[in-house]
Each structure stands twice: as structure tokens, then as C-alpha cells.
């Protein structure tokens, strides 16, 4: 179980104190899928980055199975089983797809085993493993590779920051299959998309840096739009 206790993140803008997150308390049970949603600027990505250790909160604690991991570095949290998929995948000058996939797996793999992960995101390993992970790949390809790395990691807690952003139609249709394949892990997904929200066991709505509401089920999802400033994207698509 992953627990967030009194997480607050404060910045100063023009000498004025601004709470990006304020006293957030959440529990994520094992083997359940959570979607964090909310209007732009509600603090979703900051919260995800705080869990992974990419952003340090102003105050508060993070517990993983009762152990305080608040002071662990990003890689130490990764070794504890936390895994993170970036909203905008990072590109490199030099590193190839196979290099990243091998680090994600924690060992050197042959084409066949990398094929398993890449084919789950609709990619042929032979076409991609020796390609540099740079911006010559399309946004959709980079996003799919990001998802393949998450599957290769076999994390205990998977954090996805807007996994649907920028992906092509194929990946979008298959995203829910990918989340189903990760049901042995705890999945924390940041998303605006109704189709993604519908895969959640529980939906957390953030607004102005605070937990506005937590709930589950279709009627709850239908009501989210009233909580949020705008309509959920994709609802009328």
C-alpha cells in the first residue's frame, strides 16, 4: 500500500506564497487502479512527480507498505518498485530503444523478449530496437515505447502521467488492455479522458491542489464534470 500523508507543495510567485498542493492525504491499495483527474493546474502532475521523488514536497510523508520513503532518491524509489511514465517522453542523443528497454528490464535482453513488450504496444521489436530514442520517432511512437518500458519494469506501483496524451488511435484503443495486463500492480493514472477514467477502481478528483472528491462507479464519473471546471475531454467524441 502506498500512502500520502499531509503532502503540501508550496512555491513563491512574485513573492507571494502559492500552494500547488495542500494537505493531500491519499491511500493506494495493492493491485488496484486509480485515476487522478481534475482541471489543468490542479496539481496532478506535481503529485505524481512527488510520489516518484522527481519533485520534493514542502512537507508531508510518503509511506510504501509502512516504510517511509519520503527521503529516498528517484532511483532508490525505482528499486523499491515505483515506476513512472512521463507525459512527454524524454528523448536522448545516442541511447537506443534497446538500451532503455534493457535498463527497464534490469538485464540484457534478446530481440525475442523485447518483442513481447513492444508488441503489446503494437510495435515490431526488429524495426525499433536499434533506433535511437530521439525526436526522429513520432510522438505516438515515443509514447508507446514509454508504455513498453513500464511493462518491462514490472513495477509494484506504476504511475502514468496522461498516458493517452499525444498517442495515436491504435494505442488509445489498446490502453485499457495494457492497464488490464498490469492488474497485479497498483496503477496510478493521471488522465482527463473518460475512457481511461472508466478503467479505474477509484477516481480521485483534484482541484486547486486539494482532494476535492474520491469515488467510483459510473454515476460518480458522470458527476465529475460538475466538480471540474470544464467537461471531461472526449466525452462527446
Amino acid at each position: 500500500m502506498l500512502e500520502l500523508k499531509n503532502i503540501t507543495y508550496t512555491i513563491y510567485e512574485n513573492d507571494k506564497k502559492k500552494h500547488i498542493l495542500e494537505d493531500v492525504n491519499l491511500s493506494f491499495q495493492d493491485k488496484r487502479t486509480y485515476v487522478i483527474t481534475g482541471p489543468n493546474g490542479s496539481g496532478k502532475t506535481t503529485l505524481a512527480k512527488i510520489i516518484m521523488g522527481i519533485v520534493t514536497p514542502t512537507s508531508g510523508r510518503i509511506l510504501l507498505n509502512g516504510e517511509d520513503i519520503s527521503h529516498l532518491t528517484i532511483d532508490e524509489r525505482a528499486k523499491k518498485g515505483l515506476s513512472y511514465a512521463f507525459q512527454i517522453p524524454v528523448t536522448f542523443k545516442g541511447l537506443k530503444v534497446c538500451d532503455l528497454m534493457n535498463i527497464a528490464c534490469g538485464e540484457k535482453n534478446n530481440v525475442a523478449s523485447l518483442c513481447e513488450y513492444l508488441s503489446m504496444v503494437g510495435m515490431c521489436a526488429r524495426d525499433y530496437i536499434n533506433r535511437p530514442l530521439d525526436n526522429k520517432l513520432s510522438g505516438g511512437e515515443l509514447k508507446r515505447i514509454e508504455l513498453a518500458m513500464m511493462m518491462a519494469r514490472k513495477g509494484k506501483v506504476n504511475i502514468f502521467d496522461e498516458p493517452e496524451a499525444g498517442i495515436d488511435l491504435w494505442s488509445f484503443e489498446n490502453l485499457s488492455k495494457i492497464f488490464s495486463s498490469l492488474k497485479l500492480s497498483t496503477n496510478i493514472i493521471i488522465s482527463h479522458q473518460r475512457k481511461i477514467i472508466e478503467v479505474a477502481d477509484q477516481v480521485i478528483v483534484l482541484k486547486n491542489g486539494k482532494v476535492e472528491k474520491i469515488g467510483e462507479g459510473k454515476s460518480f464519473i458522470n458527476n465529475i464534470e460538475q466538480i471540474k471546471c470544464g467537461k471531461l475531454r472526449g466525452e462527446n467524441d
Binding site: F92, K93, G94, K96
Partner: protein
């Protein structure tokens, strides 16, 4: 050969023993051994200043090894080598220079190479430069590469200098006729107080000639690198220079581009990006379980090697 010489030879040219095909091995300013084949002839210049290499027309898939090793201090080695690549030939030349200096006197090797590529010929030229040795004497390499490319000839150059060279000044000049294509990949790593300068002057004289230069460099310690490129497009041609540098510690990297379009049909591009390792690259690798030092090492290694 001594163990040091054998190790040096292996590092710069991957040779474990004397190669079977054409080769020329230069040691401490003198020719150690050379061997010609029916396809590739190596002739010492009459004035003793270097060698002439003749690749016969239509010779395909052959290679020539020509490593240079320097294992003594106080040597100032200057050599002039000329390469004549025959029409329709397609060959690979594996060159390189390694200096092992364990003395307090400077050792220097200046290789002046001139390439003449005949019509429709293809040449792949690989060159590794390396400096090592525990002495305080400098290890200096100042290569000059002059390239004359006839119609529709193609040359690809891969140069690698990975640490240990105290000072280097690399001059590359090329003249491209109609349809000639030149591709240069340069990889450079400097550390401590090392200095490296690389100057390119490429004349795109012929129609549809094309040059692509990709330079990737890493500067550590208080080392300094300077990259200067000058592309001159005289007709309908294409030139692209990409200079990527990673600066660490107190190092400095300077990139000075010059593109000179002397025709409105010339298309010349220069891109340069110099800075520290991108923070998001380190963060990404850390989310996969590497610590910061491991992440930096992997980023630098792959930046230079791939």
C-alpha cells in the same frame, strides 16, 4: 613489438596481430612493416616523407590497415600520406594513431593525409586517436586531411578521439565535384587541461554535391574545445553541419559556424547545441533504477559511441 605497442595497436585499430591484407604500420617515426596486395599498392615516397597508396579501379570490398604508434617521448613525427582511390573502387581504410608517453618530454604526430577519389569511387575511412602513458610529457596529434572528390564519388569519415590526447588541431579540407557526397562523423572527448580544435573547410563546387558533418563532443575538467566549420556552396548543393556538445565541470566548448552560399541554389544548414547533460535525461534513467553517476556515465558513453 613490446606489450605496450601491441596493446596500443589493438586499441586504435582492433588489430591483435599483423593483418593479412594490405597494411602499413608506422612506429616511432619510421615504417615498421608494410604489405601491398594486387589491389592495393603501398609505395614509399622518394623523399622519405611518407607513403603513396594506390587502390586500383573497380576494387571492391577490400580494406587497408595503417596504424601509427608512438611509444617514446621527445618525438616529433611528421608524415605525408597520399591516397589514390581508383574509379569505381569501394574500399575501407582503418587508420589511427596511439601515443603512449611515459616520459616528461612531449610526443607529437602530425599526419598530413591527402585523398584523391576518382569518379564513382567509394571510401570509408575510420580513424581513432588515443593518448596514454603516465609521463608528464604532452601527447599531441595534429592531423590534416585534404580531400579531392571527383564526380559521384562518396567518402564517409568516422573519427574518434577518446581522452588522453593533450592537444589536437584537426584540419579537414575538401573539394567536391558534381554529385560527390561526403559524410563526416566526429566524436571527441577531452578532460583535464586538454585542448582540441577542429576546423572544417568544405568547398561544394559541383552540382548536387552534398556534405554532412556531425560532431559530438564531451568536454570534462577544465578542457577546452573549439569547433569551426566553413561550408562554401558554389552551386546547387546541400551542406549540413550539426555540432552537439556536452560541457561538464569547468570545461568550455566553442562552436563557430560559417556558411557561405555563393549561389541561390545552395542549401546550407548549421545546427549547434552545447550545454550540460539534460536534467530530464538523468531523471528518466533514474526512474529506471540507475543512480545519478550511472545515468551520467551512460548518457555520455552512448552520446559518443552511438
Amino acid at each position: 613489438m613490446t606489450d605496450i605497442e601491441k596493446a596500443l595497436l589493438e586499441k586504435i585499430s582492433n588489430l591483435h596481430k599483423i593483418p593479412s591484407g594490405a597494411f602499413s604500420i608506422r612506429r616511432n617515426g619510421k615504417m615498421l612493416k608494410k604489405s601491398s596486395t594486387t589491389d592495393i599498392e603501398i609505395v614509399e615516397k622518394q623523399d622519405g616523407s611518407g607513403i603513396d597508396i594506390f587502390v586500383k579501379p573497380n576494387v571492391k570490398n577490400k580494406s587497408l590497415h595503417m596504424p601509427v604508434i608512438v611509444t617514446i617521448g621527445g618525438l616529433n613525427d611528421l608524415v605525408y600520406n597520399s591516397f589514390y582511390i581508383g574509379e569505381n573502387a569501394d574500399v575501407t581504410i582503418i587508420a589511427g594513431c596511439g601515443i603512449h608517453n611515459s616520459t616528461c618530454n612531449d610526443s607529437r604526430h602530425d599526419g598530413i593525409h591527402t585523398f584523391h577519389l576518382a569518379k564513382n569511387s567509394k571510401l570509408k575511412y575510420l580513424e581513432t586517436h588515443l593518448g596514454e602513458g603516465e609521463g608528464s610529457g604532452a601527447r599531441i596529434l595534429n592531423p590534416v586531411t585534404n580531400i579531392y572528390m571527383a564526380e559521384n564519388s562518396e567518402m564517409s569519415i568516422e573519427t574518434i578521439q577518446i581522452e588522453g590526447v593533450s592537444s589536437t588541431l584537426r584540419e579537414t579540407n575538401a573539394e567536391l565535384q558534381n554529385g560527390a557526397k561526403l559524410l563526416i562523423n566526429e566524436k571527441l572527448l577531452t578532460s583535464d587541461k586538454q585542448k582540441a580544435k577542429s576546423n572544417f573547410k568544405i568547398n561544394l563546387t559541383g552540382e548536387a554535391s552534398k556534405v554532412e558533418i556531425v560532431s559530438r563532443s564531451v568536454a570534462k575538467g577544465s578542457s577546452c574545445q573549439e569547433f569551426k566549420s566553413n561550408l562554401i556552396g558554389k552551386t546547387s548543393c546541400f551542406g549540413h553541419v550539426e555540432c552537439d556538445g556536452i560541457v561538464l565541470d569547468k570545461a568550455r566548448v566553442i562552436s563557430i559556424p560559417k556558411i557561405d552560399a555563393q549561389s541561390n541554389e545552395a542549401s546550407l544548414v548549421h545546427e549547434a547545441a552545447i550545454g550540460k547533460i539534460a536534467g530530464d535525461e538523468i531523471t528518466k534513467l533514474m526512474t529506471l533504477g540507475l543512480n545519478k553517476a550511472q545515468a551520467e556515465e551512460m548518457i555520455i558513453k552512448s552520446f559518443l559511441m552511438n
